[in-house]
Symmetry: C2
Subunit: 151 residues, 2 copies
DNA sequence: TCTATATAGATGCAATTGCATCGATAAGGA
DNA sequence: TCCTTATCGATGCAATTGCATCTATATAGA
């Protein structure tokens, strides 16, 4: 953790990254809201749960995947449950925990969100860059990940 | 605004963009907090005002530059003023408005924040990619901007 | 001039977030 | 076994955000 000043190219790329990512999120959230749909964070959780299948996931596993704080996951799950999109099941071998599973309504909601979200991605990314450029971008961004994951 | 589904490369690049940008912001905010400094948004405003010089800026001009909603700028400026980092001056030719100018204390705060912020950028961007790669990244991101600005 | 509309900025209220901490169960060690 | 510590998830409270709206001034048009 050395204290140094950044190269001009680094500052420029940082600025672009901040502005572009914020703007793209903003536009996507707007599109969802315009469609009467819940925010992006809901999709992230529903997506993870859908991938996880019938076994569901423990909340703490979700915390690791969706870049949300523990208390935010806790509260988001409460909202999802209140809307009938997920269900919480007690877990046998750990009295503290629970397993969260997506419901059919949750899968349906996920599809609805994706219809808008996916179109948004297509418009904002797919239409602007070629497949090769998108791969290049993904590659460069991948090298900025903090724990240099290997996925 | 056609409804279509995105290419796999677009989805992958989108996912990386979302995760990486959120994580980098998170880490930078952490570093600022650890140094007892205010959040990034304060830097953005102080930076714009410092660039603007003695003439200062009108709040609505600030809204256009920092990606914040009007009411957020209004309230952030109130906090900055309360901390003596900016001052609000009435503007002669428009009785509705005001001009916001950075104070010496504000400039000092900007320097303090930059010491941490800049180091963070250097560590998270400059150390991970070469100058050429950073330029490539900035170029690709630039093409994703919504109003395809020409800066 | 008088009225209608638009723009600058602030604010009341509800929802969300962050922070700290809590209650409950698990796991590890004497 | 008993005690200490760690982990899982929830929650009280304060700060921040989003939304809608408000006040005040400016501008345009009849």
């Amino acid at each position: 953790m050395t204290k140094k000043s950044p190269a001009p190219e680094a500052v420029k790329a940082w600025g672009r990254l901040m502005r572009v990512s914020r703007r793209l999120v903003e536009k996507t959230e707007e599109a969802l809201k315009a469609g009467g749909l819940p925010p992006l964070a809901w999709y992230d959780v529903l997506h993870e749960l859908a991938e996880a299948g019938e076994g569901g996931l423990r909340p703490f596993e979700l915390v690791g995947r969706v870049l949300l704080a523990q208390y935010n996951v806790s509260r988001l799950l409460a909202r999802l449950e209140a809307d009938g999109l997920v269900e919480k099941l007690p877990v046998s071998d750990d009295g503290r925990g629970q397993t969260v599973r997506i419901t059919p309504a949750g899968r349906e909601m996920r599809r609805c969100i994706w219809a808008v979200y996916g179109a948004s991605i297509a418009n904002m990314m797919g239409d602007k860059l070629s497949a090769a450029e998108l791969e290049m971008l993904a590659g460069l961004l991948g090298r900025l990940r903090d724990p240099p994951t290997g996925d």
